[in-house]
Symmetry: C2
Subunit: 210 residues, 2 copies
Amino acid sequence: MKKLNFNDIQALPRLERMHLINSLGGIKSANLIGTMDAVGNENLAIFNSVIHLGSNPPMLNFMMRPHTVERHTYENIKDTLFFTVNHVHEDWVDSAHQTSAKYEREESEFDKVGLTAEYRDNFSVPLVKESLVKMVCSFVNDYPIKEQNCHLIVGQIEALYYHEDIQHDDGFLDLTKAKTAGIIGLDGYVKTNSLKRYDYARPNEKPSLK
Amino acid sequence: MKKLNFNDIQALPRLERMHLINSLGGIKSANLIGTMDAVGNENLAIFNSVIHLGSNPPMLNFMMRPHTVERHTYENIKDTLFFTVNHVHEDWVDSAHQTSAKYEREESEFDKVGLTAEYRDNFSVPLVKESLVKMVCSFVNDYPIKEQNCHLIVGQIEALYYHEDIQHDDGFLDLTKAKTAGIIGLDGYVKTNSLKRYDYARPNEKPSLK
């Protein structure tokens, strides 16, 4: 096995270090966050850090680097207090990745990358029509993370839309059926196939399959 | 498409709501966090929220629910200031899932689930020998997240071990080659296959493959 200590990592060329360190967490989620600014400009940007925070009440969080291309998303959420989270699917990862280009505020990434903005139930933030799992969230909190000048954004799920076909009887969504993509590193997109579902684990029992 | 608003979600039975909301973020990473308490008891627990925070210096973060089975991990990190992060691979997701059972502090999950504790380079925290991508981290910060009584833990990567075969020339680790697993919801494990890698996206160019 190759070994790198802290100093070895710090001595790597910048891009090589970025690709390596961004790969280390494992398989990451692929979501498009949709927002609108105060004068009606749509924005759409890809994020790899969305995760549920808890289910009662239903909340999620994601990490933001506000001084990069993501700044429009950050400013819009702080201004309008709403955003959407939309799963990226295998068939259009190219469009999803292209949202990471630095478009101007007046340009809608929906138009630029070939995805369709969709408005539902009187919410003023755009969903991605092509997405099979998507939600409208309200802004709840912003935690500054001083170590890398990041912000952890917490949102509450106000409305949720998904294809019924992918849901199991116990509530679980089989995202492999929806062809929801994952991400490795900065730019590696993956498809997923189900392995197994397990029952709740107990100390003196073998893992049992659902 | 099925639609649920906030009140519909809150009205679901508890377990159904948990399975549903835990599925919504997308594909999650599968990592085992290894720790040791002050008197030498090993601990190993599965987490689905590990993600890089930044690459210079190399840092990662994960979310903790300290009043659940994860409390041993939390207490050990606060006591000893070190932990390991170890990728879970397809071939032994059953062992990884079994670490979520509520073992006693004196019981080592390594022994109970059939994984091997490994100590390298004078660090006193256990790595998982079977893991092909793993790291030793020092504790950096603990951010209380009041919304769901969680804690965001930030760590710095002090040593990193991985199989050279999975690395691309630009630093990227092809985790599909390592057979690193992903997680959906609470208990659904997935394997991954590469789709595409893209170049850095620019506004007036089509997405180009690496």
